[in-house]
């Protein structure tokens, strides 16, 4: 199955390099949903990530001719998404340092399932704040491991770090979250 996916990726890239415009459209069609979900999670569930996804595909269009299929297309796309989210996060942090202006307030998506879940809004907000406050190097492994449920080798390939380093980051991320969500964790226990 993995081999089939790789072959398809390679074919898509080959078609793109031969000037077939539909190859890029197929990539957008196939991966835009995954990228939207990942960007939403990495940015702390703002619900609106259209700009980031557009930027990701712009980077894909510019860089696809240099893609050598050394990893899967999905891994490469996730790496780009992470980079775009880092840039976006930096910009947002810079903006937050400026005097606050009346603007958009981040809300969870309207199509969420809040009514059906036991978790209340306050708890959700505290988790969201805790996750957003984590440094990118800890937030990214958490999202990729526990929400995207990727394997350790995939994550280390996406983040460009060794599996040992990834283990350390995950452990530290858990430690930080544990500190910040101690009340919630105690309640759960």
């Amino acid at each position: 199955m993995v081999v089939m996916t790789r072959a398809t990726d390679e074919q898509l890239v080959e078609h793109f390099n031969r000037g077939d415009d539909s190859a890029f459209e197929r990539i957008v069609e196939e991966y835009s949903a995954d990228i939207t979900v990942l960007a939403n999670r990495l940015l702390g569930w703002p619900g609106e990530v259209e700009d980031v996804v557009q930027d990701v595909f712009l980077a894909v269009l510019v860089g696809l001719k240099n893609f050598r299929c050394e990893c899967s297309l999905k891994t490469w796309l996730f790496t780009i998404t992470i980079n775009e989210c880092r840039s976006r996060h930096r910009r947002m942090t810079r903006l937050l340092r400026l005097p606050k202006r009346a603007g958009k307030h981040c809300e969870p998506c309207s199509n969420g399932t809040a009514d059906k879940n036991s978790m209340d809004r306050e708890t959700f907000e505290s988790i969201r704040t805790a996750v957003r406050a984590l440094p990118a190097k800890y937030r990214e492994p958490l999202v990729l491991r526990y929400l995207q449920e990727l394997s350790m080798s995939q994550i280390s390939s996406i983040l460009g770090i060794t599996e040992n380093a990834l283990q350390v980051r995950l452990s530290r991320a858990r430690g930080l979250l544990k500190q910040r969500l101690s009340r919630l964790i105690e309640e759960t226990l």
Binding site: F24, E25, V28, S32, A33, T36, V37, A39, N40, R41, W45, G47, E48, V49, E50, V53, Q54, F57, L58, L61, V62, P108, C109, S110, N111, G112, T113, A114, N117, S118, M119, T123, F124, I127, R128, V131, L142, Y146, L147, R174, L177, K178, L181, L184, I185, T188, L189
Partner: protein, 196 residues
Amino acid sequence: MTENIIKDLLQEADKIAGVPEQASIDIGIIRRRARKRYLMRTIAPLIAAAAVIILTISVWTLSFRTAKPVGDNDELARLQAQVKYLQARTDATLKLVQEMLQKEQKQRELEALQAQLESIGDPREEISQQVERTALILVFQADKMYREPGQKNSAMQAYSRVIELFPQSRWAKVARQRLLDIQNAENVTNLKGDSI
């Protein structure tokens, strides 16, 4: 254990946040942005080079005007030749930039025309759809007639009409099959009658 709790909390928060609004990706905009970026990367150095050359020429000309008269005619000729050469290079660079911009403009116009052309439907396709629809209605009516007592011949005529009027449609095939089935049914009835 803590790992599982954190995982559960994160997953539950993710569930609460819900599925993000599906980003509507406009591939046209992405392509235009990519092209703009490419142009900026290729043309900007050319423009910068042209600006440097123009600046150099200006400085040179000014210094040439303010300098003391050169006695040596050869030196004067050499400098004039150099100025001419630099002017020619500047003109060539500017021309190249203009050509690239014109090319880009033409490409954009071509894309707009292609998009217009694609939005126009194929009339043959529409006619073909109409033919299929009419043939379908006739077959449907013939089926209805066939089910009513004493209307078998009219139904057979209607099927024949579909075959005659729309021989290429897929409903003509259906009509042929229906006629064949009716004939087979008749043959079976006749055989039974004979054997009795």
